[in-house]
């Protein structure tokens, strides 16, 4: 499996606890890049200054820790964009 697909699969384990939906299905992941064993994740959160920022960002790091070939994870949060409509 391609490494980006593996990352996406693992990120599906990171749930936004307020909504109970994972960050991938929420449309929070903008971009994934892997360079020299470091995964760069460009993502957003559901609301500006989200109080769950530290929790979710930490969750992304933990979720990707076990992927072979990934030694480090760096993420950056951007402005707001939501994917699917939230029921």
């Amino acid at each position: 499996m391609e490494i980006k697909a593996k990352i996406l699969e693992k990120l599906q384990n990171v749930l936004d606890p307020e909504l109970g939906i994972n960050v991938v299905d929420l449309g929070l992941i903008y971009k994934i890049e892997v360079k020299d064993g470091t995964a760069f994740i460009l993502m957003t959160l559901t609301t500006p200054g989200c109080p769950l920022h530290d929790s979710i960002a930490g969750g992304v790091k933990r979720a990707l820790r076990d992927i072979e070939g990934i030694q480090d994870v760096k993420s950056k949060s951007l402005g707001i964009r939501l994917g699917p409509l939230i029921e």
Partner: protein
């Protein structure tokens, strides 16, 4: 991993304030239940009633608001709390101040000035903490204006409260006692609590409904109208001018109406279609607030303003707007705080519960319905001076305060 911001406050700070608040709420409702005979005759200014009301307003509402601010200020203003150790000292001083002040009011009102000074120390420490924290905020917003003005009103409220306590101690009036009493209530309820709830609503309503791309333009008109109304009403107390009082209350009603309109305009832009139950009760509190502001403005046209009607409006304002807003948001904030403490380090590694699973929503709905039913019963009891109805409705409030504390406490077992 590069974390852009750190918003998390030491969980023990908000929790210590909230737990004290829950106990004070329960105790205040029992004291009010025991004062039923006096209250049903419309007599509000009795030592035990003053004690119960201060336990509710300062012990529950103010302490909970302080605890919530220690958690919300870093999130809303993207600024960490200035000094966390100072927050613990402030909590201890304020708690001792509230307990001793409430006891003084009930048993020896003349000596309330001394416990009042201790309480003032605790509140001033909180104001200093907030001043030092907000000073560091890089980009000030309209929310800073609401919260900053609310904090100034809190300072004025405690100054007026101390003046009242001085009157009791010295048995002489520095300034007209009734004027100070009315201003104390106006600035405490509408100045401090309402402006604070306005300010944080601009963060929490979009956050809990996932609303984006809404305009904030109306907020400045909310501020201008509401503050103008507050100032005019305050001046009307000094000048004893009924027309000015009417004008002030009307401006406040316009400001509040604009706030309610703005909140529902924000909700129209939401992405979360099905709103959580506790949040719906916070919105119900806004509806109560609109009705009460219109009622206060409407009754101010009467040439002979009936103090009993205003007493009922003030009671409804405290319970229907301020207390209902606080309890509704507590049902959301406490699960979040405990979840962050217990599960934030486990997310992505193992299955963690959602915030909804941290608290029983069915119980929340039943409890909030009990609260609203008890409130309506209390209004009817106060209007009809029915002692039986008063016992029943206040019994409902006692039951609610106990269940509420248990439901919030049950989160800590998850």
């Amino acid at each position: 991993m590069t974390a852009n911001h750190t918003y998390e406050t030491n969980i023990r700070i908000p929790f210590s304030f909230i737990i004290f608040g829950l106990l004070a709420f329960f105790l205040s409702q029992i004291l009010l239940f025991l004062s039923t005979r006096q209250l049903s005759t419309g007599e509000m200014r009795l030592p035990v009633v003053l004690s119960a009301v201060h336990l509710l307003v300062i012990g529950f509402a103010l302490m909970t608001a302080m605890g919530a601010m220690y958690q919300l200020v870093p999130v809303v203003f993207l600024t960490p709390i200035w000094n966390e150790s100072f927050a613990f000292i402030q909590m201890v001083v304020t708690s001792l101040g509230i307990l001793s002040f409430s006891i003084s009011l009930a048993f020896n009102i003349q000596m309330a000035i001394f416990s009042g000074l201790l309480l003032t120390c605790g509140i001033v420490m909180f104001l200093w903490q907030m001043f030092m924290t907000l000073k560091k905020q890089k980009k000030r917003t309209v929310i800073t204006l609401f919260v900053g003005t609310a904090l100034i009103c809190l300072l004025l409220t405690i100054g007026l409260g101390l003046t009242l306590a001085y009157h009791f101690w010295s048995v002489r009036q520095l300034i007209d006692h009734d004027l100070i009493f009315k201003a104390h209530i106006l600035l405490g309820f509408s100045g401090w609590f309402t402006l604070l709830i306005f300010g944080f609503s601009y963060k929490m309503v979009p956050m809990f409904s996932l609303a984006h791309h809404f305009s904030m333009n109306t907020a400045r008109y909310v501020y201008i109208f509401y503050i103008s109304g507050l100032v005019l009403t305050f001046i009307s107390f000094i000048t004893a001018n009924d027309r000015l009082l009417s004008a002030g209350l009307q401006l406040m009603a316009v400001g509040y109406g604009l706030f309610a309109y703005h909140m529902f305009a924000i909700l129209k832009k939401r992405m979360k279609k099905k709103l959580d139950k506790p949040f719906l009760f916070a919105l119900l509190a806004i509806v109560f607030g609109v009705i009460l502001h219109i009622a206060a403005a409407g009754f101010s046209f009467e040439s002979e303003i009936h103090s009993r009607i205003f007493s009922i409006i003030i009671y409804c304002y405290l319970f229907g707007w301020i207390v209902l807003s606080i309890i509704s948001y507590l049902y959301k904030i406490v699960p979040f705080l405990w979840w962050t403490h217990r599960y934030s380090k486990k997310i992505g590694k193992e299955a963690v519960p959602t915030l909804k699973q941290m608290i029983n929503e069915k119980w929340i709905v039943m409890e909030c319905c009990l609260f609203v039913a008890s409130l309506i019963g209390m209004i009817a009891a106060l209007a009809s001076s029915s002692t039986g109805l008063f016992y029943l409705a206040q019994g409902g409030m006692v039951l609610f305060s106990g269940l509420f504390a248990c439901t919030i406490g049950s989160v800590l077992l998850k």
